[in-house]
Subunit: 337 residues, 4 copies
């Protein structure tokens, strides 16, 4: 941590900061510059909130140097984490594809989806039984019944089941059915849920909140890892910006950036990331080219009559075509899909 | 809802949309323009997700006309909602002030705070016992013990207690102590929590998420109102933008905008909205001038040693000065404070 | 244009809007809904600013239906515009690559760059002689001398010269040397410059401003097209968002979105779009996969000693490797590069 | 400047940075931390672009410590700059008000405006003769004729004339009429224009670009100051964010933040900052309470028929009422208006 003093900071101001730093068990290293003095704080200061120094008189700014997350950091674990659940492999050069409807609507729907996405090359099935919805008047999911339908689809196809959990209290139920737990974007900073999910040993797909910084995303992952659950996949699904022509703005540079900072694999969600079916194929291709370890895609037998997210869901044919394109790119880049 | 067709939409495309609209129990009104056809959808279509029409071939865009929230809407209830809990009055021309530390740290600290903020004119005491923190390594609050300290502070001063609840499962405990429940920005779209809070009859301070639109905020309020709890205060606490010189960007135009759209009172949080103590006094004054129905402010006996948020907390003296300034502005504008 | 009236709009309010619409030579079509009345405005109302209606009493909102740009619109010209200058082809299934240093620094530097990027497959050379810089204390470019060095590099390699023009008054000079004029992001709404560039017949690379909407970008293009210069390439180079881990956020969904709205080709700039050399290769690959018609990339013989933008410039080897990867992806997708 | 090395940086990496720093005439101070080494760079390194160090192998990050602007800095000039042009005083405890139409439309209109705003307490008249417009099809201003009408309004009322200049080549003409030159938001980084304006001795109102950081705004001011023109007012007029319910988001914390960083006075523009007339009065009041040194407001005799920006213009009566409210707040705060 670097404490930058104001140009008019007094010797007493500087001394006060040094005393405070030492009271925290750290060492202070004072450097007198041409215009300002800076104090370098040496030691593991991850738990020291920079603002506890910023507030001192004469301090202009405090700049953290160590990343605040540890277990998630690539500096701690050099080799990439690979998540494998039966046929679903994400990370280590293999691109896993999770596909299916936004919501489970009926057994017929989910089983048809499962068959179609499997035929096109997906190894996991997504489908929401507990749906967090912006409006209280929207369809909220089939809950337990939906989970059972997912289980039927798994029995029929062998696909790995990925489904969202929205509250700690639902975990006993949801973990009975889910192979992978999804923590949605709106719950990325629901710490009670993160802790509860960290106590399970079920792999987790953690979605980035639409206004979360990368550091906040990695700290959310750290909550789960800190509980002892090491199987975490990060998911970029678009951020909120001033752009309105897409539902969210999908920043693919996140992929390579995250891969440099963390060993956890990175999945991209072009369906939510664009919000329009016609943009999903090109952004899926771009995600693979950007180096994504996985894709999660919304597919529905009849998007025009979907109970949620139809406008960003692909038909079976669109999905199969997208898979074919993505596979060509993966091959061109020497990766498996 | 207005369905805008593409310039090259066929008669069959148009007919399909009309049929779909009618199948939803609504009336379609087709208008042939110079370059395009538009279809006006007449009827209460709040529950029809615009994207279920957007997905049809030949459709360029669908524009909703009715706001998706109802109970929160000013069109439904013209007169402003006033929240009153003992001495705390928020709305209807009276500006209520909620002040206190970010976290309850000790009985001594919270009681001292309570006395100081009361002396300066606050009628409610804030203080976090359950703290949602970005990092798992940060101080997480004193929980039950913290709530008891808040109760002691109330017994000593008579102040109204405002404290955060982070999970539905904590409600039985928290409602025993809280006069007002705070739902934090990170939980604004934790729908399970919103529903649970809606089932209580305790007034709620609902904070806007840093990337929530106003519509999303009002829909979050709608979840609570829909449960039968009509005592909801909205709180603007800053949004996430490209600006980095403040922790968040505090958009005060929200106040008058919300007051035009909803009958619910609007509280502003200049502490989180700026993230720097030295910006809080001027932004508190600006909030009052902008028409806020209330203020929520962080105050700490010794900000330099606070366990959280010290960098945006005011000392007792800074708070008293800020109150004096705000009162002058309120008076100049003919409002009570 | 659709005028949405407030729920409490009176018959007189509605009548006033109708009269205003008709006074503008347009037809008003009134639709009485369950809760509100809407007025559809029929006719070419591109020149009617929506706010001239919004301001009427009783009006809740005005929603434009026609895009405000015409010549740039895909609805006006269905087939994609292909820009060809000697060997540089951008659009129509061919991906053109423009590469070179941020600034022209010396004849030696620019000629070396030209040779290297040509060898790796680029067909155009970028290089700034007039440099718009955030700080008045930064290197501002070699101006005329720089243009002459570019001409030398062209003479040596045959590459097409792409260089920025920052003011209308410089056009007589710059057009003597440039094969393609670049209008930079900061000047995207410098309308005097756009008009002047529109008066030339030199092809233009128009960069999106970091906070420009797509509509504003297309209207900026419309200024150039309206002057009679039809050879406009649009360039996505990243937008300003809350993200700080990249210099800008590069939203690749812009590519397919623009291709649906306009016939003009779309070039991507992953160098400015990320601001870090190590992110450029993967984002170049992603741009090609996303369907970009061209790439513009910063390449420097010795990035560590570049006078500007070294931190986002590739070495010759990095550029050659990136080209090889991009070419594989282009081939996999059946496109030329 | 602080250079943070990666955890796995080698001694050779560190040595290379030290050599580079010293080659720039600066001193390097190496601090070995628990996990990383950091190198403090001592000396006036304002002209050293941080990225020239960032690019070295083993470097994780470079953090600048000195602000890149000098003449604009409060550290260089402690006392606030006061701009006075006849009756217009901005800064030093006096709030100056600039009001008038977006565009000059006719002599009758501008003279009527001038009389009305003067009667209500404004000391300067705004009015655009050269209008930068998003669409080439919008009204572009009356140009020279408009300037002459402004001069007539000045002759009639004595008001100070504030008008926009959009290109360096127009300065000889515009400075003949203008008392204060406005540089618009779209031209905030039109450096050629900033330099030209810096060569005049006419006071300048410099508007913040909608995606400009505060540092970029102060560097733009630095261009003007560096030319020898010391009379610069900064203007906050709203930034572009994800919010769509206002045209821009008006961040009033900018006022106090700027006043801490620079001696230049700060004017707020609530008309552009909100984009809706009904939000302007409360945001004008909030601006005064936030400590603004001046206001610039759009006023029109007949907003419904304005040629531009009618939707955000106040009538004469609305303006007079707003002035009355703002004056009460200014008085309550012990400031002149």
């Amino acid at each position: 941590m670097i404490v930058v003093m104001k140009t008019d900071a007094t010797a007493a101001d500087i001394q006060k900061v040094v005393v405070k730093v030492e009271s925290l068990g750290l060492k202070a290293h004072t450097i007198v510059g041409a215009e300002r003095t800076v104090i370098a704080v040496v030691g593991d200061n991850r738990k020291v909130y920079k603002e506890s120094l910023e507030i001192h008189p004469g301090v202009a700014e405090v700049m953290p140097i160590l990343a605040p997350y540890k277990i998630a950091s690539r500096e701690v674990k050099k080799d990439p984490t690979v998540i494998q659940v039966r046929d679903l492999v994400i990370g280590g050069g293999t691109i896993g594809v999770i596909a299916g409807p936004c919501s489970v609507e009926s057994e017929e729907q989910i089983v048809a989806c499962a068959r179609a996405v499997k035929a096109a090359g997906a190894t996991a099935l997504r489908g929401g039984a507990f749906k967090p919805r912006t409006s209280p008047y929207s369809f909220q999911g089939l809950k337990k019944e939906g989970l059972e339908m997912m289980a039927t689809a798994r029995a029929e196809t062998g696909l790995v089941i990925v489904t969202e959990v929205v509250a700690a209290e639902d975990l006993p139920l949801v973990t009975k059915y889910a192979d992978v737990l999804q923590v949605g974007a709106r719950n990325m900073q629901n710490y009670r849920l993160l802790e509860a999910v960290g106590d399970t040993r079920t792999p987790v797909l953690l979605k980035r909140g639409p206004s979360a910084t990368i550091e906040e995303l990695l700290l959310a992952a750290e909550y789960i890892l800190n509980g002892g659950n090491s199987q975490v996949m990060l998911c970029e699904r678009g951020i909120r910006t001033f752009e309105t022509h897409t539902r969210f703005t999908l920043p693919l540079a996140t992929v390579a950036y995250l891969q440099a900072k963390t060993h956890l694999p990175v999945v991209v969600d072009p369906s939510h990331g664009t919000g329009h079916t016609y943009l999903v194929p090109s952004m899926s291709a771009a995600s693979v080219a950007a180096g994504a370890d996985g894709l999660i895609l919304e597919v529905h037998p009849d998007p025009q009559n979907a109970k949620s997210d139809g406008y960003q869901s692909m038909t079976f044919k669109e999905f199969a075509d997208t898979m074919a394109t993505c596979r060509k790119i993966a091959e061109a880049l020497g990766r498996k899909m």
